[in-house]
Amino acid sequence: MSTILLHRLAHARAGDKGNRLNLSLIAHRAEDWPLLAREVTEARVLALFAHRGATAVRRYDLPALGAFNFVIEDVLQGGVNGALNLDGHGKSLSFLLLGMMIESR
């Protein structure tokens, strides 16, 4: 088994609405989409954001776009108007996702 940094296979962008964060995840190569679908599960993403208080993750699959949309609840610790975090929008969190290590085959 070998592991690979998600950042090698995909790119991402974060957006916020209140205390809810959305992260797009887009495969660099369309053929890697099934691997991402297998590895980057709702459970793994929830675990990745657990230290920030995330309570639920929903993954929407967009195979035609080679992409996914993750919606993560209660992860912004109050959101842009309430958070103590320097990045209250959570805009940098796309790269927390891309820092995940996944099995590459």
Partner: protein, 468 residues
């Protein structure tokens, strides 16, 4: 008329600003490209954030003529004369808390520029303070359980749709100024006015809304907020990034959507940049709720037709929601912040001691509020308030910065907490430097849903060169 007749088959919509802090010189090259292309065109300027509107409402309490986007005239000054001369209407939500005040200021700018006449459409009715609608709100699902105390409300605004924008354009407005409306409506409005699409032509409204969504953040679809050196590069390195071209959408009468940017500008428009922006701030991709239509992008296909020209097909629409989203702003207490740098040998241990000292001081002083520490250079933005990543984080960078954030209902407590960081100069560990402190008046926003029939959007036309 400012638009060519509805028989025209193509409408170009440029975006010259994607948020209230955007580059002030961005609209110029977009306007130049629209003029050079010829044909029907419009320019949108999106400048209104949730917090911006609440701050504007507060500003208006002190100065009744204020309360609109402070940079609006700076954005318009270089382009207004050219847009008017070439029949390119400008649509902006820069009216914020005072669209009428913004219109008066733009009429003043027109006089300063020597324009003989100008017609400004003003869209109002988004502000629901003091109306029955405010008493009839249901919390949006993301803010379930929220209770509203009307007497504490700073701002309460409903997201209006594209219809009032289209009405203003049909009545001959050369500039349309709104308060809160959905961002895509700034683009869909001119499409409705130009093509005469029916208000239940859901698939075309969906295509137009998708185009507006791609445009609404300006350069975020043309290579801004995208570069990741060695992975996703923007051509020309810093030169390209410094001269990003803002987007132009080419819309067909049938709802065709093509995204491009002015020739000779920096940035890139391709499958990657377009996909990132298509999914930006989306929840369910099958149901993107707007006041005008429910947009489904799950069947969208993206085609690179030529360099920097990307076509999108397959947007589907469903009937618009019966209830519209309203954002309500309330006082959110105070945030005190302070930072101090530690560098060189043993920097991390000194910074950690400073952090523990601050928490102990807050405890001794009995300040009421919530504190958080960051070790900028070890871990900061990824961490939770409890500091789990910081405590687990290894390594001792030789140059790092300790940050204290303290939220309190009390201004005095927030100020005192920030001052404690300053006091580390003489009372903290060795070698601390570069203290900066800041105290911010916070605003809390909640989202609610309002029945559509409670609202009464209004369009007025203000004119320069004729009696008001």
């Amino acid at each position: 008329m400012t638009l060519t007749p509805p028989s025209s088959t193509l409408l170009r919509i440029g975006c010259g600003s994607g948020f209230s802090g955007d580059r002030l010189d961005a609209p110029g090259p977009v306007v130049d490209a629209l003029i050079e292309a010829g044909g029907a065109a419009a320019l949108m300027l999106e400048v209104l954030g949730e917090r911006t509107l609440a701050l504007a409402q507060r500003e208006r309490l002190h100065r009744p003529e204020a309360g609109f986007e402070p940079a609006l005239l700076d954005l318009l000054r270089p382009i207004l004369t050219r847009c008017v001369a070439h029949g390119i209407p400008i649509i902006t939500n820069g009216g914020a808390a005072n669209p009428r005040g913004a219109a008066a200021a733009v009429l003043g700018l027109a006089r300063e520029l020597g324009l003989p006449e100008l017609r400004i459409g003003v869209v109002e009715g988004d502000d629901i303070r003091g109306t029955d609608a405010l008493a009839d709100l249901d919390p949006w699902e993301g803010d379930a359980g929220a209770v509203l105390e009307p007497e504490r409300v700073i701002a309460a605004n409903v997201y209006l749709g594209a219809a009032p924008v289209a009405e203003a354009l049909r009545r001959g407005a050369q500039v349309v100024i709104t308060g809160r409306c959905s961002d895509p409506a700034l683009a869909l409005g001119p499409m409705l006015a130009h093509f005469g699409w029916a208000e239940d032509d859901w698939d075309r409204l969906a295509a137009g809304t998708m185009a507006g969504h791609l445009l609404e953040c300006g350069a975020q679809v043309t290579g801004g907020y995208f570069a990741d050196p060695g992975v996703k590069d923007v051509p020309g390195d810093a030169r390209g990034m410094a001269a990003l071209g803002f987007p132009i959408a080419e819309i067909g009468a049938d709802g065709g959507v093509l995204i491009t940017k002015p020739a000779g500008t920096g940035g890139r428009v391709d499958r990657q940049t377009v996909t990132e922006q298509l999914l930006y701030e989306l929840h369910d991709p099958a149901a993107y709720l707007t006041p005008d239509v429910v947009l489904d992008i799950t069947g969208v296909a993206i085609t690179e037709e030529a360099p920097d020209r990307v076509r999108l097909t397959g947007a589907r629409g469903r009937p618009r929601p019966e209830r519209l989203k309203a954002t309500v702003s309330l006082p959110g207490g105070w945030l005190g912040e302070g930072e101090i740098s530690y560098a060189g040998p043993n920097a991390r241990a000194r910074a950690e001691l400073a952090g523990r000292t601050l928490l102990e001081r807050l405890r001794l002083l009995g300040l009421e509020g919530q504190a958080r520490l960051d070790l900028i250079g070890v871990v900061s933005v990824f961490d939770g308030d409890a500091g789990a990543l910081r405590e687990a984080g290894e390594g001792s960078p030789s140059d790092l910065r300790l940050r204290l954030a303290f939220a309190s209902e009390s201004r005095a407590a927030a100020e005192r907490a920030a001052r404690e960081v300053l006091s580390l100069y003489c009372c903290g560990p060795a070698g601390g430097g570069g203290v900066r402190t800041r105290v911010t008046d916070r605003i809390r926003t909640l989202s609610f849903l309002v029945p559509r029939e409670r609202l009464a959007p209004r369009v007025s036309l203000l004119r320069l060169g004729e009696a008001a």
